[in-house]
């Protein structure tokens, strides 16, 4: 069997992470002599994909809590445990990767008891890679987790927890049956969408799709029904078109995007393809939000909302890979609450759209409760990092003799730059982060504009704290100077707050770039050199007569070198 068999996306394999929850069904003959059908769902762990996890948990009776035998309990482990407890799930801890020399299962067991508060005696020691502890895990599922109740006689109710688009079969829905049963040929109704279809194909996920004729209570499967023109299926309840259930299952709380960025195709002709790609991706990733927007610098594109920075990166990469698009993503922004002088309140998810200073009374920004789990020796550097990012210290708890849990209140805007990278690099990879939105708070924020060639470039505007603005402006201008290639003209770069220039740089014009000798009549070679130069320009955005490379629009992402 292929390694990482449930991480089906190339992106997941390359990064070694799970992005999409992936269902898998198996038959298992237990030591008690019975054969059981197990429906499992593999979920991501990263805080950005908590929404993916919460949907999966709502479709289950129990959860295997997989903990790395060297890393131990991480901040997001706790977050996911809380989600499972909220959903009334039976939890079985699994200590994985015990084959690694650095593993310390006994220490992890004590963490399970002290940090999470679960009974460590039921924890299974395993190495998925070396096939250690697999029967024990399966036996634990069979004996510790309750089977789904038999509700065959009730009207069909199945919860859609995932979907994706296919050009041949239409939209494919992944669901779990709560009540009743469904068969091929049934006429079904999506209760929230109020649309009716005929089931053309039904199957289970092993994890590849295997067709079946009928599925009953507790089973997880997929169906195709020539579904088209539906924007969201996830969270909807499937019932029968006739004699359907009177009441839908509780759906999912819609995911709330926290981070916003503009996504534009480099070639504006690709705008329709970008729209289609986003629509299809939304079917597969219901937490993605998008709406059209226009930028002076970048043309037509979309303002997109994401659950976090990793989510944003993943979406951009999926759009580029799965839909073959070349994109510019602007720097991420949080959503600000702005009270204007007429006492109306607006939400601003694009810094370029912030009303001018004389039209606004105050700006509020989202704050999060951030929990950082960190080995003792890195507490100092991480506290320094948090203070530098406007963090407000709440408390610090020692979870065990070696590790502390830092609790800070922080502006989300400070986290979505390169906070996570810094957190990892300042703790040699050992610290972990979990955060949740807490509330909006007033902050002294200003709008920083970047002018290139004397013209403001809307896509480079940022909302920053007034104390940080000058340093930030200088840093950004310096960075842009490095990213913008020398051209035929001087390119002045300025950072400004209101009308005041706070930093300036200049990309001096190229002064000499002359073609060499045409050796032995090789004119093709010369032409290709010039064409290559021209090609390089095509990958840039023209702002007036100035060519700005794609990376420049991302320059705001990484603050520290």
């Amino acid at each position: 069997m292929q390694a990482q068999v449930l991480d089906t996306m190339d992106l997941e394999r390359e990064r070694g992470i799970t992005i999409k929850a992936q269902p898998a069904r198996m038959e298992y003959k237990s030591t008690d002599g019975n054969t059981y059908i197990l429906n499992l769902i593999d979920t991501p762990g990263h805080v950005d994909f908590g929404y993916e996890v919460s949907r999966s948990l709502a479709a289950c009776e129990g959860a295997l809590l997989v903990i790395d035998a060297s890393q131990g309990v991480e901040a997001q482990t706790l977050a996911n445990v809380h989600l499972a407890i909220e959903n009334n799930l039976e939890i079985v801890p699994v200590i994985n990767k015990i084959d690694l020399p650095s593993s310390d299962p006994e220490r992890i067991k004590s963490e399970i008891e002290e940090v999470i508060g679960l009974d460590p005696s039921i924890a299974v020691l395993a190495s998925a890679k070396n096939k250690i502890g697999i029967p024990e895990v399966l036996e634990a599922i069979v004996h510790l987790m309750p089977p789904p109740p038999d509700t065959t006689n009730l009207p069909l109710r199945a919860l859609v927890f995932d979907s994706y688009y296919e050009s041949y079969r239409g939209i494919i829905a992944y669901f779990r049956i709560k009540d009743g049963s469904v068969s091929v040929g049934d006429r079904i109704r999506f209760m929230a969408n109020e649309k009716t279809f005929e089931v053309t194909e039904l199957g289970v996920l092993c994890p590849q799709q295997v067709k079946v004729d009928r599925l009953g209570p507790g089973e997880v499967g997929y169906l195709a029904a020539s579904i088209k023109d539906v924007s969201t299926l996830v969270g909807d309840t499937i019932t029968h078109a006739e004699h359907g259930a009177p009441e839908a299952l509780p759906g999912y709380r819609p995911a709330k995007p926290m981070v916003f960025a503009g996504i534009y195709s480099i070639d504006n002709d690709q705008y329709p393809e970008l729209r289609e790609a986003l629509e299809r991706l939304k079917l597969n990733d219901s937490s993605l939000f998008f709406e059209p927007e226009t930028s002076e610098a970048l043309g037509f594109g979309f303002r997109c909302g994401f659950l976090g920075l990793l989510h944003m990166e993943i979406i951009q990469e999926r759009l580029e890979r799965e839909y073959n698009l070349s994109l510019i993503t602007t720097a991420p922004s949080v959503i600000y609450r702005v009270t204007k002088t007429d006492n109306t309140t607006i939400m601003v998810d694009n810094p370029a759209l912030l009303p001018e200073a004389n039209y606004r009374l105050l700006i509020e920004e989202p704050y999060v409760d951030a929990h950082i789990l960190v080995p003792n020796e890195f507490v100092g550097p991480l506290m320094e990092l948090c203070q530098g990012r406007r963090g407000i210290f709440i408390d610090m708890k020692y979870l065990d003799p070696r590790r502390a849990m830092l609790h800070y209140e922080m502006p989300l805007a400070e986290i979505i730059t390169d906070f996570f990278d810094q957190l990892k690099s300042r703790s040699r990879g050992y610290a972990s982060l979990d955060y949740h939105f807490s509330e909006y708070r007033e902050s002294r924020l200003v709008k920083l504009d970047i002018l290139i060639g004397g013209k403001p470039v809307d896509a480079l505007s940022a909302i920053v704290h007034y104390e940080k603005a000058p340093a930030y402006g200088r840093h950004l201008a310096g960075k842009l100077k490095k990213l913008i290639p020398r051209q035929l003209f001087d390119v002045p770069i300025q950072a400004a707050i209101g009308g005041k220039i706070i930093a300036r740089e200049n990309v001096s014009a190229q002064r000499k770039n002359v073609l060499a000798k045409c050796y032995g009549g090789d004119i093709s070679r010369k032409r290709k050199l010039l064409e290559k130069q021209k090609e390089g320009k095509k990958r840039m955005k023209s702002v007036g007569t100035i060519e700005i490379p794609q990376e420049a629009f991302m320059a705001l992402l990484k603050l520290e070198e």
């Binding site: 051209q487 035929l488 003209f489 014009a509 190229q510 002064r511 000499k512 770039n513 002359v514 073609l515 060499a516 000798k517 045409c518 050796y519 032995g520 009549g521 090789d522 004119i523 093709s524 010369k526 032409r527 050199l529 010039l530 064409e531 130069q533 021209k534 320009k537 007569t545």
Partner: protein
């Protein structure tokens, strides 16, 4: 009826210079005889299909060091060409060579065989600069070589110079230029040093090494070159070429005006009937398969137009828009109105009396300006 140029590649060198990235071989001179036979065979076979003998206005022996091999071999190549072509009486027949290969005897043989123009790789007259690029000659040897060619009877002589060399300064460049110009030659070429990725010089001094003149100095070197030639009445007719009136190289001009040209020998590129193709660069491979192509590219109409623009703009007189429209059916000021307007406004191009020309400012950054039309 249109006429053609002929390029003949002679890859043999006595010594490989450290900046060299070209098709050259050293220590294989013993193959020259055999190479000549193959090359003569190539000429005969490629030209035998012509319905009538092509008119030839220019022949160029490039290298390598064509002056290194026995002049009789060059003579034989010319004889085969004469058999298959009409070589006009006014044809320019150039031999490219190094100063140290020029002797009185050889020069006389060259003249006798019909070679009437000689292009000598002087590069620099400063010995430390010559040493820095691994050039096996001194400044004195260059002057002697030129003198020799003159004594033998050559009057149409070009000196090839290089600028942007390691250690070169405006002072040393001034010395090289003044001395070269004082010889009163009718033609001068000066190219910026191009670093080939695999050249030995690149390993010693990578492109960003402080050994090379910085950009501001490189600009000064070029500007001094232009003004120096101007006062010596050597008109700049192309970005890197200067000549007294009537001594412009016909061969170079045929490239810049996008004419067809034949080519023979290892690694040589030809452009015939809308196809540009090149022979094998490997000497051995060429000699085994002298009609085989290492590269071949059909130049479609759009590409032909692109080439006509970038080649035409290299000429200092620029492109005659009316003539261009007649030849290519394209009104450049319409097709590239945005670019031309912008580049004229910025002082990189000039548009005057139906001629589109690079300004002196534009010449310096011609790669960027020309790329706008690609």
């Amino acid at each position: 009826m249109s006429s053609y140029s002929v390029y003949i590649h002679i890859p043999f060198c006595a010594h490989r210079c450290d900046f060299c990235n070209f098709t050259t071989v050293t220590g294989l001179d013993y193959l020259a005889q055999e190479y000549t036979e193959v090359l003569c065979q190539e000429i005969a076979e490629r030209l035998q299909h012509c319905s009538h003998p092509p008119e030839i206005a220019s022949i160029y022996f490039g290298g390598g060091t064509p002056g290194l091999i026995d002049p009789d071999l060059l003579c034989r190549m010319l004889a085969v060409l004469r058999k298959h072509c009409n070589i006009s009486d006014s044809a320019e027949v150039t031999l490219e060579t190094t100063p140290t290969t020029v002797t009185l005897d050889k020069s006389r043989s060259w003249l006798r065989s019909g070679i009437n123009r000689i292009s000598i790789g002087v590069e620099s007259l400063c010995d430390d600069e010559l040493a820095a690029i691994g050039r096996d000659q001194t400044g004195r040897q260059s002057l002697e070589g030129i003198e020799c060619a003159r004594q033998a009877g050559f009057s149409n002589i070009n000196a090839d110079l290089l600028y942007g060399l390691p250690g070169q300064t405006l002072n040393s460049w001034t010395k090289t230029l003044r001395e070269t110009i004082s010889l009163g030659l009718p033609h001068l070429s000066a190219y910026g040093l191009q670093l080939g990725a695999n050249a030995r010089l690149t390993a010693r001094h990578p492109a960003d090494s402080p050994a090379y003149p910085d950009e501001a100095t490189a600009v000064e070197l070029y500007e001094y070159l232009v003004s120096c030639c101007q006062s010596a009445e050597l008109a700049q007719y192309e970005v890197s070429n200067f000549a007294r009136a009537g001594f412009e190289s016909k061969h170079n001009l045929s490239y810049w005006t996008n004419d067809d040209y034949f080519a023979f020998g290892a690694g040589a590129h030809r452009y015939i009937n809308g196809v540009r193709s090149s022979n094998w660069r490997s000497l051995k491979r060429y000699m085994r398969d002298y009609l085989g192509a290492e590269t071949s590219e059909v130049i479609d109409e759009a590409t032909r137009v692109k080439e006509a623009i970038f080649l035409g703009l290299r000429l200092r007189r620029g492109i005659n828009l009316a003539l261009f429209a007649r030849q290519y059916g394209i009104n450049l000021t319409e097709k590239f109105s945005e670019q031309i307007k912008r580049l004229v406004a910025s002082g990189h191009l000039a548009l005057k009396d139906n001629w589109l020309t690079l300004t002196q400012h534009g010449v310096l950054v011609s790669n960027l300006v020309l790329a706008e039309f690609m």
